[in-house]
Amino acid sequence: MDDEALLDRCRRGDRDAFTPLVHRYQDELYTMALRLTGNPADAADVVQETFTRAFRSLPKLRGATVRAWLFRVAVNCSHDIHRQRSRRPTDPLEDTEGRVVDLPDPGLGPEATAIQRERADAIRVALLALPHDFRVAIVLRDVNQLSYEEMAEALSVPLGTVKSRISRARGLLAAALRQSPAVFPRAEEAW
């Protein structure tokens, strides 16, 4: 059943129609929030808050796609949480209950696993260093792979703004990762 059909059922008060939307989008939204906040606990809170708000507001949604709207809410929630909380030093690989997330591929050897972890960490640090709007743009585009049009809808900005933010963010990301051997192996060789 597609989003619109589920939304119609939600509008009629069908609670069971909301659950498939949660299952459909929770990991996408969690990944987005994790890349935006860099913190698993915050990311989980973002997803929880997004669906709580959606539960109350989604049935009244008009003129927008469910996916873009959920991303919009999640982006705002991420921003709110980032604003409300002082950053606390946590292990990025553990959530508040100590469970490991973003596990490396078990098929990789120790060296490849180490590189994968190093690359993930370099990317996390580089993303967090980006200005908020640019970070949102590159995450929606290159992590969640939203189309330009979906991004414009989710962010309520013109298409041109979407493209320029993506372009700028990618340039900054590339510059930030330039010296990371895990991302640019040749940089390591040059040392």
């Binding site: 997803v47 539960f55 109350r56 997330v101 992590v143 990618r170 990301l173």
Partner: protein, 293 residues
């Protein structure tokens, strides 16, 4: 292609260049090692980001109780009906039901005290105006959904500017994509529509505003009106205009031919900031029902 192509790298990565532009881009990269290196660097970095695995939500999402849709709450507001409202309550037959509703509001309102809601005159502009304290009351919505407890803020326009509804949570509201801005060029007031300021709502959820407008002369409901929501000061806002769509009559929400207007006001609220709700037309009596979820 002359000059470097930095501005095209991202579009080229996405395959968004037109064929002729792409061909020129590729020709340039073949001749310009700096641009070729820059494109390779961007490609490597973005590929690395895209290759990061999808993370899994670590625990199940907990949904609120009940059915999807707004949660209804009371505002705690004082109830002292202004003189004008008493006049309104005594209006002609068309207003009888309204009078009953207002009376109900008064009764309920007197039973409760709490946060202040004001009314004020502010015709045509959305800036602040003198307040007439105590114009706010609350009551069940006199409608098929009257079992639900909804707050009402009553004030005669252009003397209606509910303010300072209790805000206990400093969270944010959302504007769903698809809401468009209306007439924001003139401070959020479109021509011919009264801009009576009603400020603030509770952040933390969606706000529904039901506006029942009663024309003083005909006692008819004026349709449609524009209801706007936006930060009082753009300088203190995050640069967004919060605007509601033109409200439309809501099927089922009628009181003997007195349609209620509904508009949803989801917005990204900033903690501690005041927001405006604009309702028209001028010289009308409006009963606002504000529901927060």
């Amino acid at each position: 292609m002359s000059g470097h192509v930095d501005s095209l790298l991202s579009a080229a990565y996405d395959g968004e260049l037109r064929p002729d532009a792409r061909a020129a881009f590729d020709r340039h990269l073949a001749e310009c090692s700096a641009c070729a290196a820059a494109f390779a660097e961007l490609t490597t970095a973005v590929d690395a980001l895209r290759e990061q695995p999808t993370a899994r939500m670590p625990h199940p999402v907990r949904l609120p109780e009940g059915s999807p849709g707004p949660e209804r709450r009371w505002f705690d507001v004082p109830a002292r009906l202004p003189e004008r409202h008493r006049l309104v309550a005594g209006l002609s037959a068309a207003g009888v039901l309204v009078a009953a509703a207002v009376a109900a509001v008064v009764v309920v309102g007197h039973l409760n005290s709490g946060t202040i809601v004001h009314s004020s005159a502010s015709a045509g502009v959305s800036s602040g105006a003198a307040l007439a304290p105590g114009a706010a009351i609350r009551a069940p919505l006199p409608s098929p959904q009257s079992a639900s407890l909804l707050p009402e803020v009553v004030g005669p326009l252009p003397v209606c500017s509910p303010k300072a509804l209790p805000i206990s949570k400093a969270e944010a509201l959302e504007i769903p994509a698809g809401f468009s801005n209306h007439a924001t060029e003139d401070n959020g007031v479109s021509t011919g529509v009264v801009a009576t300021q009603a400020s603030s709502f509770v952040p933390g959820g969606t706000v529904d505003i039901y506006a029942r407008l009663i024309d003083d002369s005909s006692h008819a409901v004026s349709l449609p009106c524009t209801v706007l929501l936006g930060p009082q000061s753009s300088s203190s806002s995050p640069g967004e205009d919060f605007t509601m769509a033109v409200p439309t009559p809501v099927a089922g929400l009628t009181v003997d031919g007195q349609p209620l207007l509904q508009a949803t006001v989801p917005a990204t609220a900033v903690a501690g900031q005041t927001y405006d709700i604009v309702v028209g037309p001028p010289d009308a009596v409006v009963i606002l029902t504000i529901r927060i979820s």
